[in-house]
């Protein structure tokens, strides 16, 4: 019996490791930017090319920065969640139109609704690189001091909003 004990133990340990490995999502790469100051930007606005939106405009409030694009299917999935969030008025959502065509982005917002306070245009994707974006949609929670507190990779869903985003926003707003 004892001669089976060692292989059996090794087998059990391997199964344990593999089981844990199966539950991990390799597409979710932890961001090194959490707890760091949000990278500065100053970009033209989607609805008014003449105006710019810069990071300093949002100082003093807790806000969400959502990278999206009209070509991105995940953004379509996430969109109702953002609309609900915007209606609740808990915190403003600022949009970053990532590597998109202006007219297509505007048509997309007309068709599905606009949850954003202001949308900035990151046509070349450079601000996206500064924020470590590697696939839209991505959403950042940024606090009053302009520090990134949370990053959501992929579409937001109701569960993530109620369990993670809302408690975090309340905590940050109370500070």
């Amino acid at each position: 019996m004892s001669r089976f004990l060692l292989p059996l133990t090794i087998f059990a340990v391997m199964v344990g490791f593999l089981a844990v490995g199966l539950t991990l999502n390799p597409r979710e790469i932890p961001s090194p930017l959490i707890g760091k100051a949000a990278p500065a930007f100053s970009l033209p606005q989607l609805h008014d090319d003449g105006k710019t939106l810069s990071l300093d405009d949002m100082k003093g409030q807790v806000w969400l920065l959502n990278f999206w694009a009209s070509w991105c299917s995940g953004c379509r999935t996430e969109h109702p969640v953002l609309m609900d969030f915007a209606r609740s008025g808990i915190a403003p959502i600022y949009g970053m139109d990532y590597k998109d065509q202006r007219d297509e982005a505007l048509a997309w917002l007309d068709q599905w609704g606009n949850p954003y306070q202001v949308v900035a245009v990151d046509a070349a994707g450079r601000v996206g690189i500064d924020y470590g974006v590697y696939g839209v949609p991505e959403t950042y929670v940024i606090d009053k001091q302009g520090v990134i507190r949370y990053k959501q990779i992929g579409p937001l869903d109701d569960e993530t909003v109620t369990k993670k985003i809302l408690p975090l926003i309340q905590e940050l707003q109370a500070k």
Partner: protein, 153 residues
Amino acid sequence: MNWLFCLLLLVAGSAWAGEARPLGDDPAVEARLKQLAGELRCLVCQNQTLADSNAPLAEDLRREVREMIVKDMSDREIVDFLVSRYGDFVLYRPPLKTTTVLLWAGPFVLLVGGGIALAVTLRRRQRMVENAVITDEEHRRVERLLSQGVKES
């Protein structure tokens, strides 16, 4: 008619001259880009290097790296730029840290473990051979078999 053609040529020529020279023209820059991009991972197609991937983000990052090379930044600075945004994940050679000790030392631990297991097994087997008890009858049978060759099995 001829003058119109000349004018067109002139206009077209100036438009051509006005275009910025693509950064990709400098072979020295391209060589460094190729070498650096081979060490960096594409975030979208995670098992491809930045050099291999055709993902739009990989193209953007190559553009970014190319611009940093032109600005004469060191390899260290360029890699730090990407790590500060995307984390150690962009590196195909992860740095040695407390969280990556197992990754670096793991194969050697396995090698040593395997070596010890092999040594123990061999020693145990040797002892089994040494301790084997052979009766006189078995001895005679061995002698007979050896003298006959392999015919009897």
